[in-house]
């Protein structure tokens, strides 16, 4: 657990006095990912760096597991805290393996032992062992970032600080890194403080989100679902963005949506005109779902168009659908599946990826409405014992998580 106790960081004096962080009090839970998010100049990186004393607070105390960080020699403190810096910040003159081995070597381990650990970590972050002898300049941005994560993990620190670690890579690689990082954290259970300016990244990665406003004010501290559904003030609402309602759907599992039977056509089979029922709207495409041998969805085809040709359905004939609705999919995915499908019907699959039918947008909307009402009832129940239970200043916010779990699934 990390505690900021009334921490301020003031730069300059007199007229030039600016507060980077002002009276910050926050409790960061053990074993979870806490995201500091906010626009530039909001003090999120300054706050992060006060944890490992790269920046010393002007006033207040930072405690790790109850110990005042000022009572620990700063370099020693830092070796016990993993740090992933922007753009990876690797040492250009050291090989990948030696970069990862940095902290163990600083701690007095032999270079050989440290390299052995480094080689294991390389694999853990999804890089081949052969990459160990390369220099950072020989790696892509995404690969460098993975090495940065491996380096932070090398001494197996209980706490990790991550300063915009994925901001310098392209969106595709970033999404990949985020997914892998989430998976890694599920195995490791570190206490992680993650700084980003990207609210989507915060929502995707964080167990809890601390939204910082310019001037180092903590505007809201809550779960991602809570921040999206109940922004604490105008600043948070504005920062979170105008489609927050839609994005908040990510936190509710779609659960038992009505799944309708969907006739399917096997890829490679020949469509015949009987596929199109006589009462189908003339002139409109008649969409049929195409599956492969494993009954996995491959796309949609206009039966009228393909039936006229009397030839096997090939991959080239298919119009691709969007998201698929699986057993654990959120309402957001379910709605998107329906909206992104040419037929307006989202493809539902089982745990093995086989088609079980389709869902329609109106059914998803009904489910959203049901969830909203259930959430409202829960909120009302919450507010009875204490009116100020909204977790702005560090009260544990299990409420929203429970609410999400309590929705029919």
């Amino acid at each position: 657990m990390i505690n900021f106790d009334d921490v301020s960081k003031i730069f300059g004096e007199g007229d030039h006095r600016t507060a980077a962080v002002e009276d910050l009090t926050i409790e960061i839970p053990t074993g979870k990912i806490t995201v500091f998010v906010g626009p530039s100049g909001c003090g999120k990186t300054t706050s992060l760096r006060m944890i490992n004393r790269m920046i010393e607070p002007t006033s207040g105390t930072v405690l790790i597991d109850g110990v005042d960080t000022r009572s620990i020699d700063a370099p020693k403190l830092r070796r016990g805290i993993g740090y992933v810096i922007q753009n990876a910040g690797l040492f250009p003159h050291r090989t990948v393996l030696d970069n990862i081995a940095t902290v163990p070597v600083l701690d007095g381990q032999s270079r050989k032992a440290a390299r052995a650990v480094a080689a294991e970590l390389l694999e853990r972050v999804g890089l081949p062992e052969s990459m160990g002898s390369r220099y950072p300049a020989q790696l892509s941005g995404g690969q460098q970032q993975r090495v940065g994560v491996a380096r932070a993990l090398a001494a197996d620190p209980p706490v990790m600080l991550m300063d915009e670690p994925f901001s310098a890579v392209d969106p595709v690689v970033r999404a990949q890194l985020q997914d892998e990082f989430t998976r890694l954290q599920a195995e490791l259970g570190k206490t992680i403080v993650f700084v980003t300016h990207d609210i989507d990244e915060a929502v995707k990665i964080g167990d809890r989100i601390a939204v910082f406003a310019v001037g180092g004010r903590l505007a809201q501290y809550a779960t991602p679902a809570e921040v999206l559904s109940h922004p604490a003030d105008d600043f948070v609402a504005d920062f979170v963005g105008h489609d927050r309602g839609y994005r908040a759907l990510s936190f509710t599992v779609a659960g038992n949506l009505p799944v309708r039977d969907e006739p399917t056509l096997l890829l490679g089979s020949t469509a015949d005109p009987s596929l199109v029922p006589p009462d189908a709207q003339p002139g409109e495409p008649y969409w049929v779902l195409v599956v492969d041998d494993a009954r996995q969805p491959r796309g949609w085809v206009d039966a009228r168009w393909i039936a006229g040709g009397r030839r096997p359905v090939g991959l080239g004939d298919l119009v691709l659908g969007g998201s698929l609705v699986g057993p654990q999919s959120s309402l957001r995915t379910a709605l998107d599946a329906a909206l992104s499908s040419p037929s307006g019907r989202g493809v539902a699959i089982d745990a093995d990826g086989r088609v079980i039918g389709t869902v329609e947008a109106r059914d998803v909307l009904d489910a959203i409405e049901t969830a909203r009402v259930a959430q409202g009832l829960l909120d009302a129940a919450d507010q009875r014992p204490a009116a100020d239970q909204r977790p702005v200043s560090g009260a544990p916010a299990g409420d929203a998580e429970q609410a999400a779990a309590a929705v029919p699934s």
Binding site: N52, R78, L90, H93, L106, R134, Y135, A137
Partner: protein, 216 residues
């Protein structure tokens, strides 16, 4: 060119060449060793940067001949003592390299420096094992200039009678005879080229990462 004269004086020229070599090499090395901590100081503390760089600049403007003449008085050495030359050229090298070292350290990306701090490096260890190695290419470039300039400055000391290749220029001038002058120039160029190559190779060996080819 009078090859006979060269043949007759080979031994003398060789001993001057050897003297020239160490009179130029030693101050380059000493100067580098002194400039490293001073440059690091100038880099680390902003207030010392301006002071040190200004002092270095002033030092460099003192004419070498004046320094050669004044130093024996200060050091208590005899005028012919080669130590005067070594001290004078070491001062010039320091003057040249303090700024180079400070700027070379400054050229190391701040993210790398911060990352070393974040990993738990103490300042001195970070300086020596992270920042200094990364500054080698820039320091090496400055060192090449200093080394070559020392090779030419040494010859000025011939006016005081310190034996080295500069003597060839005096002899040639006094006898109005070009052979020793040409030989002196060629040998000086040769010495400079050898120093330059040695530094270039040393920098190359010390910085394998700069030649790492992208596998991307």
């Amino acid at each position: 060119m009078n090859w006979n004269w060269l043949n007759r004086n080979t031994d003398q020229i060789l001993s001057w060449l050897l003297a020239h070599l160490w009179l130029a090499a030693l101050p380059t090395l000493l100067g580098l060793l002194l400039a490293l901590p001073l440059g690091a100081l100038a880099f680390r503390y902003r207030w010392s940067y301006a002071t040190l760089i200004t002092l270095a600049g002033l030092l460099y403007t003192i004419p070498s001949l004046a320094l050669f003449v004044v130093l024996p008085g200060i050091l208590g050495t005899r005028i012919l003592n080669p130590l005067n030359v070594v001290v004078a050229l070491t001062l010039y090298t320091v003057a040249l390299l303090v700024r180079v070292v400070a700027d070379a350290l400054d050229s190391v990306p701040p993210l790398v420096r911060q990352s070393a701090t974040a990993m738990g490096y103490r300042p001195i260890r970070s300086l020596i094992t992270v920042q200094l190695p990364l500054a080698i290419p820039v320091i090496g470039a400055g060192l090449r200039v200093a080394a070559v300039s020392n090779v030419s400055l040494v010859s000025v000391a011939a006016l005081l009678g310190v034996p080295q290749l500069g003597q060839l220029f005096l002899v040639g001038f006094q006898l109005n005879f070009y052979t020793p002058i040409v030989a002196g120039i060629v040998l000086c160029l040769l010495v400079a080229a050898v120093f330059d190559t040695i530094i270039l190779v040393a920098v190359r060996i010390a910085t394998p990462w700069t030649r790492a080819v992208s596998h991307r």
